[in-house]
Structure formats: C-alpha cells, structure tokens
C-alpha cells in the first residue's frame, strides 16, 4: 500500500529579522505515524511547528497539510490539524466543559452536554467538568489539552513538548494516548527534548539543529547507523549506545540557550 503523506514540509525557511531560525527544512509525516522532531533549545523545532500551525509566515518553502497549502489556504489546512501548544492556556473564567464546548464549536463539531461529559469520562475527568482549567493538575491539564486537540478527529495532531513537567505515571499515560491516536489512523508530529520519549513513542524522528534537519530515520535505524561513529562511542555511557548518545554526537555537547 502506498504510504500517504498527511504533512509535507518542503524547503521551509523561517527568519526573525536577520536571524534564520529554520533553513531549507524538508520532511514528511505519514498517515498512522508518530513523527518526532528533536533538537536542542533554539534549534528551530517550535518555529517549524509554528509555521505548520500558521502562527508565523515562512519566508520560503511549502507546507502541505492533507492536500492543502498552509500559506495559500490556511483555514483549510488548520481544519485538518489538531494542536497542543507548548504552554497551553485557555480562558481562565471558563469551566473545563465550557472550554471543550468552545473548541468543538470552533471546529464545527456540534456536541451536546452529554457528548462533552462522555469525552471527559473517557479521560477520567468527568467530575472535573465544572472546574476551571487552572484548577486541574498538570497531568489533568495535559489530558484536557490533548482531548481538545483531537476533538474534531483531525488527520494530523501537532504536540509541542507535551510531556514537559509531567511525572512518570502521567507521562506513560500520555504516551499511551498518543499511541492510541496513531492507532486510529491519525498522524502525529511531536517535538520533544526527551530521547526516552522519542525512542519509546516515535516511529520516525528528525534531528534538527541550527535550523537544519541533520538526520531523519527510525530511532533504531539512527542508532544502528551511528553505533560505530567515534563521536558516538566517545559520548556513550555504561557501554550501551542510546539515541541520546547519537543525538549528542550529532548536535554537540555545548549547552544551548
């Protein structure tokens, strides 16, 4: 069966004044795939994601979301996207169920109160329906954010560092939810700093540094390909080569902003 690309990013460039944050980046995300975008701080991950989301206008290149050009037809492209931003915040005065209702309406999905409660029941938050978003714990907030990102059954879900700040239990639970999204046939593009997360969840990954993609492959293939590189062996710990070793070898040891 031919692999269908839900997202195609081709030769993307994003600049802030004279600073080139993203330079000629190309990659694609296939249906039923979790694709990880990895990179040190300031590497260009969030800028790439923001361009896909339509939050900033690229200086060059094309972004095709489910057949729609994200620059020429931004509303059509965004209708196919489900998004969880890095620091999600919803209207502080609204209850959780009202926030769900708001986003269901924005995506044109008519839902009754029972439908909304059913969604909250699925993520074990039915009893939190009339609490404000800010009153939820970090893990609960992430669950609500994820359910909002997928409320319209999007073909592509963008998750910007979704597990940052979560405890191991919440993180594992979120991984399972992300995998469940993939298993329903959706594509997922995730940015993360966690190599453990990339190895555990992602089907393919791209490492981005200084605004350029420097490697794309499956996590295991990337480890296998670089296993014998002297730089990788030099940074490895306890004799076992991990994705983190490959990542450090490819992007350098220097701490980024």
């Amino acid at each position: 069966m031919k692999e269908e690309n839900i997202l195609t990013v081709d030769d993307l460039s994003v600049s802030y004044g004279k600073f080139n944050a993203v330079q000629n980046v190309s990659f694609s995300v296939r249906r039923g795939e979790i694709f990880g975008l990895l990179g040190p701080n300031g590497a260009g991950k969030t800028s790439t994601l923001s361009a896909v989301e339509g939050l900033l206008k690229p200086q060059g290149g094309t972004i095709i979301v489910d057949g729609n050009d994200a620059v020429a037809k931004p509303l059509h492209a965004r209708a196919s996207l489900g998004v969880q931003l890095q620091s999600t915040s919803f209207q502080t005065e609204l209850y959780v169920i009202e926030v769900l209702q708001l986003y269901a309406g924005i995506y044109g999905v008519p839902m009754s109160k029972n439908d909304l409660l059913g969604i909250l029941r699925e993520i074990n938050l039915e009893d939190q329906a009339t609490k404000k978003f800010g009153q939820l714990s970090g893990g609960q907030q992430q669950r609500v954010s994820l359910v909002i990102a997928t409320i319209h059954n999007p073909k592509l879900v963008l998750l910007d560092e979704p597990t940052t700040g979560l405890d191991p239990q919440s993180r594992r639970q979120l991984w399972e939810r992300i995998e469940a999204i993939r298993d329903k046939g959706h594509a997922v593009l995730i940015t993360t700093h966690s190599m453990e997360e990339a190895e555990s969840v992602c089907d393919r990954i791209a490492i981005i540094d200084h605004g350029r993609v420097i490697a794309i492959d499956t996590p295991q293939a990337m480890i296998d390909k670089h296993r014998n590189d002297p730089e990788v062996i030099a940074v490895s710990r306890r004799g076992k080569i991990t994705l983190e070793d490959v990542f450090i070898a490819l992007t350098g040891k220097a701490i980024r902003g």
Binding site: S87, Q91, G105
Partner: protein, 253 residues
C-alpha cells in the same frame, strides 16, 4: 477532497458565548464599571440646575464608556495575550477578525448596559427624563463614543506588550480624561483657563464624546458643533483603531 471549514457565523456564535460567559464571571468588575457613573450622577446633582441634566448624564456615560472601552477592553486583551489564549485560538480554522469581533460585540453590549443604567439612575436619583428620540439618539452616540474608546484601548494594546504597563497606561489615560474633561469644563465655566484650554477640552477624545452624547439627549438642539464633534469622534476612532490594528501582535513575546 477539500477539507471543510466551519461557517464563520457558527464560529462567531461560539466565541460570543464564551466571551459573554467570561464577562458574566467577571461581574464584580462590571458592577464597578457601572457604579462609578452612578456616583457621578448622585454627587453632581448640584450641577443640574446650572448645566442641565444632559451635562451630568453625558459625563456619567462618558466615564462609563472609558472604563469599559479603554480600561476593561485593553486589560482583558493584554492579559489573554500574555497567557497565550489568542495563540491557542488562532491555530483553529477561524478568521483572526472573529476573535476580536466577538470581544468588541461584548463591549458594545456593555456600552448599551452602561447607557441604560445611567438613564435609569438619572431618572431615579436626579429626575432627568428624556424624550423617546433623546434616548434613541443617546444610545447611538454612546456607541459611537464607546467605539472611540475601544479604538484607544486597541492602540494601547497595540503599542504596549506587557499587561502591567497596559494596565498602568490605561489608568493614566483614564485619569487624564477625567481631569481634563469633567473638571476642565467646570473650571472653564468658572472663568478659569483661556481659549486654548477650552479648545483642548472640547475637542479632546473625552470632550467630543461628551458633546455628542449630551446633544444626543436633546435631538432638537443638534447643531453644527455636535455634527463636527461626531465627525471628530469618527476621525479619532479611525486613527486609534488603525494604529492599534497595525501595531497589534498576537503574542506578548
């Protein structure tokens, strides 16, 4: 197959419901916005024999309009921008104008509420009663004035990113408008200040709004000066709104 996008009317209705709920949950702030004009109405009762009912009512409405349009609007926009609420909305399939359009509609509702509240309080406390035409025209001039202060509020959040600075700036402008508009006119009537001060006060964003609202209460007295004040009000609105939209950034970073 082309992806379908929701109707703009559906989106606007959804946003409006959320924004109205937010406004309702902030009712303590709404009550404060309504109380200040009433305090002016009650405390300025002594000026009614000298300046007339429309003078006091129009000042009360103008102050209420500044509180909601300039302070309420600009502060809520700055706060939500800082929290990233706009960015979250913008990644949805909705035209950007609907986000602000919904908020402006809520503010117009507030303007209507303020005018109604002042008319009721003016009748109850000061015995000021207008003709049906006077009430109708006053609502229209109140909306025109409210739009001007929304424009000023937009210019403030367009030019300033930090919510704290937006808050401080809007308070300062509120204070300047009160001092120059309300008390300035009383001082002028006492013979204090010259023509330049008079022109500044009368043609300031406070003065023109006060003029159109005051004359609007007595439609028979509508004159060239009121028409000119209305034009100047529109002019201010266009200039401030243009600056506010041109400078506006959706993120505070």
């Amino acid at each position: 197959m082309e992806t379908s996008i929701p109707k703009t009317s559906t989106i606007l209705k959804t946003l409006l419901r959320a924004d109205l709920t937010t406004q309702w949950r902030n009712r303590r702030a709404v009550i404060l916005t309504l109380i200040v004009p009433v305090i002016i109405l009650v405390s300025w009762k002594v000026y009614i024999p000298k300046f007339g009912g429309p003078f006091v009512l129009s000042n009360s409405i103008a102050i209420g309009l500044i509180a909601t349009g300039l302070m309420g609007y600009s502060n809520s926009i700055a706060r939500d921008r800082e929290k990233g609420i706009f960015q979250r909305l913008r990644v949805g399939p909705l035209p950007a104008w609907t986000i602000m359009g919904s908020r402006i509609m809520v503010q117009l509702g507030m303007i209507f509420l303020i005018a109604t509240f002042v008319f009721i309080a003016g009748y109850e406390f000061d015995g000021v009663k207008l003709t049906a035409g006077g009430y109708a025209l006053s609502y229209l001039t109140s909306i025109a004035g409210g739009l001007l202060y929304l424009g000023v509020g937009q210019a403030i959040v367009g030019g300033i990113r930090s919510p704290e600075t937006v808050n401080a700036t809007s308070r300062l402008i509120y204070f300047v408008f009160i001092m120059s508009g309300m008390f300035g006119e009383i001082l002028l009537s006492e013979g204090v200040g010259g023509k330049i001060l008079h022109d500044i006060i009368v043609w300031s964003p406070y003065g023109t709004v006060k003029t159109i609202v005051a004359v609007g209460m007595e439609p028979a007295k509508w004159n060239n000066e009121a028409s000119m004040a209305l034009l100047v009000t529109f002019g201010y609105t266009i200039v401030f709104a243009f600056m506010g939209i041109k400078w506006f950034k959706w993120t505070s970073k």
